[in-house]
């Protein structure tokens, strides 16, 4: 039976079989008090507050009582109320009397329920259980004497974030959530995601380093501005300051009551003393405060006179994958329409846009991938991705599908990531050999006939050639190159055989020298296995920054117009010519690396940088500094003082996402709009307002008095965004591909297999015998400009140790904490070392973003763009002890 009839408080109710009495009541707007129940957690029936009484006077905990036919319960009978009051009295007798100074303040659920039930005094002998106070770390205070043993923190930690840092220790009265060996949190596996704090009903777990204790004046919804997940947040505001951040209580949010350490704690960078609060103009070599009018006038005059003197090709715009859709749209429009240059790029170039580009051009559209659909996967192949650090909430999703849904996960990564304990198989392949690995797996599936022949026949072309190449493939050679034993390859093939695959692709691929080839190989494998076009199949790309897709979609790139439409397509260009009443040059502009080269050569005279800090994010700052010195005019619009800001001729203070309205497109293809939560500091302005003033002054025909005007224009002109806003603050991009596999019922084109190519083998460099991988640590995002301005993050004693294998550690006599110099042929850095188990000998890991992102010094600037994909991931190095 699918439906159950029951009666709650005399009201007849029909509900789904298998649900609980608590949920059935909730769906019918009958509120039952609870302390241990949470919609995202498995119920455990610990607090007994949700008691209801059935007709026989039996008392049941409704959150763990399944509905049954003809059940009739009272949720608020005198008996039930009496029991509830007693429970609260007992809990309070056990509770220390520190409510007045507790920073849960009015949000404490125990206090709330006590007052709702009218429990003023508890009339019992007070028996508080003092446990000591833990607050050595910069993020979380634990005062477990306030713990009511509801187990929510533990369940959040296990079921939602999949870290398992805490569990109950001991029994009975002494029982408390504890780490292994009862160590302080910073010595445990805790990632300081803070999800347990937000879910704790009392003040037992609280945020540390709050500038304000208690309940904020108001709370407002927003979106996390750090990574490409785009978590939904609630920000607590006191006197125009953000004093608190929690995951949004919305039940179907992406992040489901979780956040990561950046989202939860690093937003304190917003009130950093490094914020820019007034426009600055360079006068006599010094940056000094100016009015907006002065600043706008200088920008307009200078850009126009440079254009007049040197032509439009002498001006370049560098936008930001952190700025909003509206801002990137206006930014590129000013560049293309007023200054008539296609030299527009954004920071997304460094994090793999060209690789995404390849994907887009081969499929004619990237499909939307809701993270929720990961649940439907048959098998997940994770390549070059450690989302537990880079996009933690995506990592939580993967852990959950593995642990709760039992979906097998295969991880191909040279390093043992935190995902490995959840994986069915880990393939520790040699760096930059993903291409061979994927082709080898395809060959194995081909030999076993374990692929989707029907799909291949119906939707693709060129399979004969591809299969011929697969059948000729030398698997021993693949095994040798990838350093994966033949048994390992077979095991992977066992897991993949006959399955549709979900691919999770990270920066190991997106920033790899061979990134484009890897994408080709992956697409071949996806076509062969029929892993495209359906929910629970296809690709998820880790986008490092919150609006990496959006900045691209808005045309803040050299070769695409808004709506991810190719600039070299004559029809498309004509369309935009008409829309904007101009003539767009058919030549793609320069990407950021080429811009810097052009400045070095003196061909570029002016640059307008919005929301990026190339001196910190790009390799070889010395070279970039020289290039910028060569410019006649540099405008920097940003929120924080930075190396790049200090070189500018004009500085325009922008607003952070929480201080303005805007929208971001996350890695799923979800467009999320947000409203300002506080106002910008000082005279700073929302970036879209700055651009719309400037555009207006420079002669853009359209006026954008409100942000809605910009949105309307994008919606109207870019089909990809035509659905934007149709569904409140969260809508989806509209994908359209000509390929039949995306719409099997209509006619369409076949997808093409791409030919296999021989790649250069990794040759061992005798002078630089180690391979260093550069990667992220969860505490920082990207190059760390923003997270590095967070007080809390800075107070965490992190030293960004370089990780070496046990074998290399022994050979070089390195011990944890020893200082080493790591050098490539481009530069060197000095840091402490850490010897880690499970690391391949010869492999080194260097966390980015630490020490002003010094790791970038190991990389060259120029060869980044060699095959148009930034080889920003790996470099040959040597180690010296210092």
């Amino acid at each position: 039976m699918d439906e159950i009839n029951l009666t709650i408080n005399g009201k007849k109710i029909v509900c789904r079989a298998g649900t609980t009495v608590f949920n059935a009541a909730k769906e019918n707007d009958i509120r039952i008090p609870s302390l241990c129940h949470h919609p995202h957690l498995e119920p455990i029936g610990a607090c007994r507050l949700c008691l209801v009484e059935d007709e026989n006077g039996r008392i049941l905990a409704s959150c763990v009582t399944p509905v049954s036919e003809n059940l009739s319960v009272q949720t608020d009978s005198p008996n039930v109320r009496a029991h509830r009051k007693n429970i609260i009295r007992l809990l309070m007798a056990n509770h220390p009397e520190s409510c007045i100074v507790c920073n849960k303040g009015n949000r404490c659920e125990l206090r709330k329920i006590a007052s709702q039930l009218g429990v003023g005094t508890y009339d019992l002998y007070p028996m508080p259980h003092y446990t000591g106070f833990e607050e050595a770390n910069p993020f979380i205070i634990r005062d477990l004497s306030k713990c009511i043993l509801c187990g929510k923190c533990i369940r959040a930690d296990h079921e939602l974030v999949g870290v398992g840092a805490i569990d109950y220790n001991q029994r009975g009265f002494r029982s408390r959530p504890a780490t292994v060996h009862d160590r302080p949190l910073e010595q445990s596996s805790c990632t300081f995601c803070g999800s347990c704090i937000s879910i704790c009903p009392t003040g037992a777990l609280a945020v540390k380093n709050v500038s304000f204790a208690g309940s904020p004046q108001k709370e407002m919804a927003s979106i996390c501005g750090f990574c490409g997940v785009g978590c939904s947040l609630v920000m607590g505001i006191q006197d125009n300051r953000i004093v608190d951040v929690n995951p949004s209580p919305v039940e179907n949010s992406i992040n489901q009551s979780t956040l990561c350490v950046r989202g939860h704690f690093a937003h304190d960078f917003l009130s950093s003393s490094q914020r820019l609060t007034t426009p600055l103009l360079r006068k006599n070599g010094e940056l000094s405060p100016a009015t907006w009018e002065e600043a706008f006038a200088v920008v307009t005059d200078k850009l126009f006179s440079i254009k007049k003197k040197n032509g439009p090709q002498s001006i370049a715009f560098f936008g930001s994958s952190k700025c909003s859709l509206e801002e990137n749209y206006l930014f590129q429009k000013i560049a293309r329409v007023i200054l008539q240059t296609n030299h527009i790029d954004n920071g997304g170039f460094l994090t793999g846009r060209s690789v995404l580009n390849r994907f887009q051009s081969r499929l004619g559209g990237m499909s939307i991938g809701p993270l929720k659909d990961l649940e439907k996967a048959e098998v997940v192949l994770v390549l070059g991705a450690d989302p537990t650090h880079s996009l933690p909430v995506l990592g939580y999703h993967l852990k959950r599908v593995s642990k709760i849904k039992g979906v097998p996960i295969i991880v191909a990564d040279p390093r043992r990531t935190d995902l490995i304990p959840f994986a069915s198989l880990w393939m520790p392949l040699a760096t930059q050999t993903d291409y061979y690995l994927i082709n080898g797996l395809a060959a194995l599936l081909y030999h076993r006939k374990a692929y989707d022949a029907q799909f291949v026949k119906r939707f693709t072309q060129g399979s004969d050639e591809y299969f011929k190449e697969l059948s000729a493939m030398n698997l021993d050679q693949i095994s040798r190159v990838t350093e994966i034993e033949p048994e390992g390859l077979e095991k992977a093939a066992d897991l993949l055989a006959g399955k549709k695959i979900v691919f999770v692709v990270g920066h190991g691929i997106l920033q790899q020298r061979n990134g484009l080839e890897v994408i080709d190989a992956l697409l071949n494998l996806a076509l062969m296995t029929g892993s495209l076009g359906q929910r629970g199949t296809g690709f998820y790309f880790l986008t490092m920054e919150n609006n990496a897709l959006g900045a691209w979609d808005m045309g803040a790139v050299p070769d695409f117009l808004p709506g991810r439409q190719s600039l070299v397509d004559n029809e498309i260009r004509k369309y935009w010519d008409r829309a904007w009443k101009i003539k767009i040059s058919p030549d793609p502009g320069l990407n950021i690396i080429k811009m810097i080269e052009a400045a070095e050569e003196g061909n570029l005279k002016a640059m307008y940088i919005m929301g990026e800090n190339p001196l910190r994010s790009l390799p070889q700052p010395g070279q970039i500094r020289k290039a910028f010195d060569n410019l006649e005019f540099l405008v920097v619009q940003d929120i924080l003082d930075s190396e790049t800001v200090r070189m500018a001729d004009v500085v325009l203070p922008g607003a952070a996402f929480s201080e303005k309205a805007g929208s971001f497109t996350n890695l799923e293809g979800r467009i999320q709009s947000f409203d300002p939560v506080v106002s910008p500091p000082g005279q700073a302005k929302p970036d879209w307002e700055i651009l719309s003033f400037l555009g207006n002054q420079m002669g853009l025909p359209a006026q954008y008095r409100t942000i809605e005007k910009i949105r309307d224009e994008i919606r109207e002109l870019a089909p990809l965004y035509s659905q934007w806003g149709k569904n409140g603050n969260s809508s989806w991009i509209k994908e359209k591909s000509d390929l039949a596999l995306f719409h099997p019922d209509e006619s369409g084109e076949s997808a093409l297999f791409s030919p296999l190519v021989p790649l250069k083998e990794n040759i061992r460099d005798e002078d630089f015998p180690f391979k260093a991988i550069l990667g992220s640590w969860r505490y920082h995002l990207g190059s760390g400009t923003r997270t590095g301005s967070s007080n809390r993050i800075n107070q965490m004693p992190l030293s960004g140790e370089i990780e070496v294998s046990i074998k290399d550690g022994e050979r070089l006599h390195l011990l944890d904490g020893d200082k080493i110099r790591l050098s490539s042929s481009y530069g060197s850095i000095e840091r402490k070392v850490k010897v880690v188990r499970n690391q391949k000998p010869g492999l080194i890991f260097v966390p980015r973003a630490f020490y002003e992102n010094d790791a970038r010094n190991l990389l060259p600037l120029t060869t980044l763009e060699a095959p148009n994909s930034p080889g920003f991931k790996e470099i040959n190095v040597k180690i010296e002890k210092t």
């Binding site: 569990d167 220790n169 504890a178 292994v180 060996h181």
Partner: protein, 165 residues
């Protein structure tokens, strides 16, 4: 006194025996405790890894059951009864006497790992009150001289390694 040396090889063997069972955790922990006399805390992580559990979960199970101990216990574990029947018959002075004789507090283990002193709620031998248990043997109707002779029986001679039964 030095901590006992840990034999990781023996742990691996035990893990291997259980790794593929369902609900392996408790039998595995029992085997470790049987083999080592206690559950060395250093074993929590490897056990968790082998069974794909969180280390905190493993610790939670260990500390939930009184039968598991994260501290090395003496060769002889004395459980002195604190139940009602024994109390009435003077178990308090028996416990005091044992403490004095062994120079141990409740829950402690002697530095030479000869004795661990514990108390229990009721040994289920009330007719023998006051009662205690040493390892798996019951002793009842205790008096200080009787306790003294029992303890002597279990004490290892100061020299030599011979076992005493």
């Amino acid at each position: 006194m030095t901590q006992k040396e840990i034999d990781w090889g023996r742990l691996d063997e035990i893990i291997k025996r259980h790794r593929d069972e369902n609900w392996a955790l408790i039998p595995l922990l029992q085997d470790i405790q049987e083999e080592f006399g206690y559950l060395p805390p250093e074993f929590i992580e490897p056990v968790a890894e082998a069974l794909k559990l969180f280390p905190s979960e493993v610790q939670g199970v260990i500390t939930f059951y009184a039968g598991f101990s994260l501290e090395p216990k003496g060769r002889n574990v004395i459980k002195s009864c604190r139940g009602t029947a024994c109390h009435v018959k003077g178990s308090r002075s028996i416990l005091r006497f044992i403490k004095k004789e062994l120079n141990l507090e409740e829950g402690e283990t002697s530095p030479d790992y000869q004795f661990t002193l514990e108390t229990v709620a009721c040994l289920g031998a009330c007719f023998l009150a006051p009662a205690m248990m040493v390892n798996r043997t019951y002793f009842g109707k205790l008096s200080p001289p009787k306790v003294k002779s029992i303890l002597a029986q279990y004490s290892r001679p100061k020299t030599g390694e011979s076992e005493i039964k």
